[in-house]
């Protein structure tokens, strides 16, 4: 197995301990309220006996919006079941493998052999951990403060090495229903919105859509009425460290990528892309020159 930053780390090191849970009978609007207030992407749902029975994510809520389900409907009607678990002592590697194999963005971590939920592991937390290691590392560009290292031959990842080299865009006059169909078909978290001249004018994310649902906005309105503008983007040759920093700083899950001065977007770089890379932002860790236990 290749050496990488995550080797030797376990779920407990990266998980969040605040697990938000609601009764499965709670109305969808209450679920949206918690998702927005705590800035999370999913909630754990439990039966009356407090046993976790499912997960409701922004994707599930978007589907309810698409289907014009009354917002007072119980979350039980739209939840994904059962929730997927891992052990808090499991390796981060195996948890990431499970997330990829199951096609999910989060796992709930159980304490020991019990069914008691101790935390939640999601891609942004793993990227946060990677970023922290990179930031502390002597090879980091961010941590350098102008000083030059004797050996600066480290091969650094750039955004274009990791990004998804295709962008699915929609016209700003397309309805939210069309946008939701696109998000669902391509399993995206957000899509680019363009004007008549193919100029990127905004982004519609699942967060924008669940807020529209909460605010009683008709799903037939044009994308431009709910899109977030301007588009957050980076240049394709930017170092990964800088792009990850922008994403974490701006609280977004993805950056659209442009080439040179061209306004056309050539790719998307997401937090899950960064998490899947597993090796921080340069080759130093891959070649084992830096070991995790030296980062303290």
């Amino acid at each position: 197995m290749k050496q990488n930053v995550l080797k030797g780390l376990c779920v407990k090191d990266a998980m969040r301990r605040q697990v938000l849970q609601l009764p499965e009978s709670a109305p969808i609007e209450k679920n949206i309220n918690l998702l927005i207030k705590y800035k999370v992407n999913a909630l754990l749902l439990a039966a009356e006996n407090n046993i976790p029975t499912g997960v409701v994510s922004k994707t599930d809520i978007m589907s309810a919006y698409y289907a014009s389900l009354p917002i007072e409907s119980p979350a039980k009607d739209i939840m994904s079941s059962p929730p997927l678990f891992c052990g808090e002592a499991d390796s981060l590697e195996s948890a990431l493998d499970k997330m990829r194999a199951e096609g999910v963005h989060r796992l709930y971590a159980c304490e020991g052999a019990s069914q008691s939920v101790a935390g939640i592991l999601a891609y942004p937390d793993i990227v946060g951990l990677l970023y922290l290691y990179c930031h502390k590392c002597e090879y980091s560009l961010l941590n350098r403060s102008g000083k030059k290292l004797e050996n600066d031959e480290v091969s650094r990842f750039r955004v274009k090495d990791v990004m998804t080299p295709a962008v699915r865009s929609f016209h700003e006059n397309d309805s939210l229903l069309t946008i939701m169909e696109g998000l669902s078909a391509y399993r995206f978290g957000a899509v680019l919105v363009t004007d008549e001249n193919d100029r990127a004018t905004g982004v519609v994310s699942k967060t924008d859509l669940i807020l529209a649902y909460m605010h009683g906005v008709s799903p037939h309105v044009a994308a431009r009425t709910v899109m977030t503008s301007p588009v957050l983007s980076c240049e394709e040759t930017e170092f990964l460290e800088g792009a990850i920093r922008t994403m974490i700083f701006s609280e977004v899950h993805r950056l659209f990528v442009h080439r040179g001065d061209s306004p056309n977007m050539v790719g998307v770089f997401s937090l899950s892309d960064a998490a899947r890379l597993r090796s921080g932002s340069c080759q130093a860790c891959v070649s084992s020159r830096i070991k995790v236990d030296q980062h303290d």
Partner: protein, 155 residues
């Protein structure tokens, strides 16, 4: 003087669920000026004046808190000014209903003050609306309760 109706404030302010947070913040300022006290939580009512939630200073601060502060907190190269601007910008698209606390603990006008005291401690709340049927009669603040009890202790 031992029940909610004896101690509750009947001069209170309310918010609407579809108000912007910017307007809610203005309402907090106005309420503080009118009530001559720092108001940190305001009841949210629907069109029929029924209580549907409570928006507190904590709810707003929770939303303003950067999501990844546990990472930023360990770094010294972050522009805090930029973080604050971004947080305030994000708040513009949010309404009261999006971040209010919808499950509000209430008492009836006849609730005993010691019961309210116990409720405030157990549930970590600083204000309790007094409701009769679907009608809001007033609100009991923890400070009112404290100074009331203090007066009895020192009398």
């Amino acid at each position: 003087m031992s029940t909610a109706k004896d101690l509750m404030t009947t001069k209170f302010h309310t918010l609407r669920p579809d108000m912007s947070i910017a307007d809610a913040v203005k309402a907090f300022k106005e309420a503080s000026a009118n009530e001559e006290r720092k108001v940190f939580g305001i009841m949210v009512i629907d069109r029929k004046s029924r209580l549907v939630g409570m928006l507190s200073m904590y709810d707003i601060l929770l939303y303003l808190r950067p999501k990844h502060i546990h990472i930023w907190g360990m770094m010294d190269d972050i522009e805090a000014e930029g973080l604050m601007d971004q947080a305030c910008e994000r708040l513009k698209s949010i309404r009261v209903a999006d971040i209010m606390t919808p499950d509000v603990i209430t008492v009836t006008p006849d609730a005993h003050l010691m019961f309210i005291l116990d409720l405030m401690i157990k549930k970590h709340i600083r204000r309790v609306p007094v409701v009769e049927g679907e009608k809001i009669r007033g609100i009991v603040y923890i400070s009112s309760l404290f100074y009331h009890l203090l007066a009895r202790v020192t009398s």
